[in-house]
Symmetry: C2
Subunit: 214 residues, 2 copies
DNA sequence: TAGATTGTTAATCGATTAACAATC
DNA sequence: TAGATTGTTAATCGATTAACAATC
């Protein structure tokens, strides 16, 4: 149970909530009286309508029979449950192409993520500006984390460098790591790691392509 | 059933296979007689050992009682099933930071992915070299796909541009799209889309962080 | 041989889907 | 009122885990 007295959401559930959120914010105008039915969403997202109703019930959204759910209410509840309104500052390590792309992407703001420090191991990169941030030298990592009280680290570094940097992040107080390096990280159990394994996406795509007869 | 007479693998199964693959190739030297037991893998990957044995059985890998599985055999079987040895050429659209990162990443090769054409809507970018490729103007898209017989497209463009480009890809003969644009794509049912929704990863990380008491 | 580990069947668990009464 | 849609319970399905005989 969490603060709201609801059981914690599982992976699949969170994914579906994000799915609803994107679909509704993209396709259904947010004027106050816009409604959406579970059957509509289910059809468009290619899933079962009971699932939609259960998911909404689980986050405390109630609909009205013969009418459906208020789109704005659904969106608000999802933002609430997932904590999109809570600003979460993070330090990003590795200002290469991928790191630069994440640092410059403005879309993260709607989920509460603000990358508020950017470091790179190459001293030559220090001072360069990406998005709204200046690249800092790696040896300032701990100072930056302490100064801003950062608790989230984003790793966009080569595989070989990842474990060392993860260790430094944890030592400096970081408690959640978003890992884009193609390697597993060993961390204490009180640290949460989300490993973004991009090539898995390609492997799946290729497998399905193969299954479908090339 | 697929060509090998085995039922197709589901999402979870594919993810686990990639997990084993990475773990074994990273942590277990590939000399011919290296063995690994289901209990070992299960412990290290934090899962049930029966699961490991079932997954291996499903791809035709047999172990030996009291010994375990031959690491090299497991790796080979996974590569075989997932088609890593089949070279798959793709066109990448959008040579921005993210596109550039993917185009320059050499690690994809081990999975069979070769990005063999790179286009960008900005004519000013044409001619620029990223990795081993020269950025081509967008109007050459169809010609490149036809000339190289490409069947896979990678979209690293802003959300607004994604649907139009997906349409062009499909019209030109592409049958699988790896979509990094933060928007859903509408495509004919014979086209496979893999939507890489990166912010979902952050949302999950943030949710678990919140659940754990900040 | 003794005992560790596989391979597989059976049991459990959770997630998905079906059914349907309640409601608007 | 009639009928569409929710909310929820029950049934089904599939995935995970337990158990254990077979094997090396």
């Amino acid at each position: 149970m969490n603060a709201e007295g609801r059981p914690p959401l599982r992976h699949g559930h969170l994914e579906r909530l994000m799915h609803y959120y994107h679909f509704i914010t993209e396709h259904i105008a947010s004027s106050d009286n816009d409604t959406v039915s579970s059957a509509q969403l289910a059809e468009l997202l290619n899933m079962d309508d009971t699932q939609v109703r259960k998911d909404f019930a689980a986050i405390g959204v109630r609909g009205r029979a013969r009418v459906g759910y208020r789109a704005s209410e659904v969106v608000k509840a999802i933002r609430e449950v997932l904590g999109f309104h809570e600003r979460r500052e993070a330090v990003l390590i590795g200002a290469g192409r991928l790191g630069g792309a994440l640092a410059a992407y403005r879309g993260f703001r709607q989920y509460g993520l603000a990358i508020s420090a950017l470091v790179d191991a190459d001293p030559g990169r220090a001072g360069e500006v990406i998005g709204e941030l200046e690249v800092q030298p790696l040896d300032r990592l701990e100072a930056l984390i302490a100064a801003k009280g950062l608790r989230i680290g984003v790793l966009t570094v080569p595989a070989e460098a990842a474990q060392d940097l993860a260790d430094r992040l944890v030592m400096a107080g970081v408690r959640a790591i978003w890992n884009f390096a193609p390697t597993a990280l060993a961390v204490p159990e009180y640290v949460i790691v989300r490993h973004e394994h991009i090539s898995v996406g390609f492997a799946e795509l290729a497998y399905y392509l193969k299954q479908s007869g090339r």
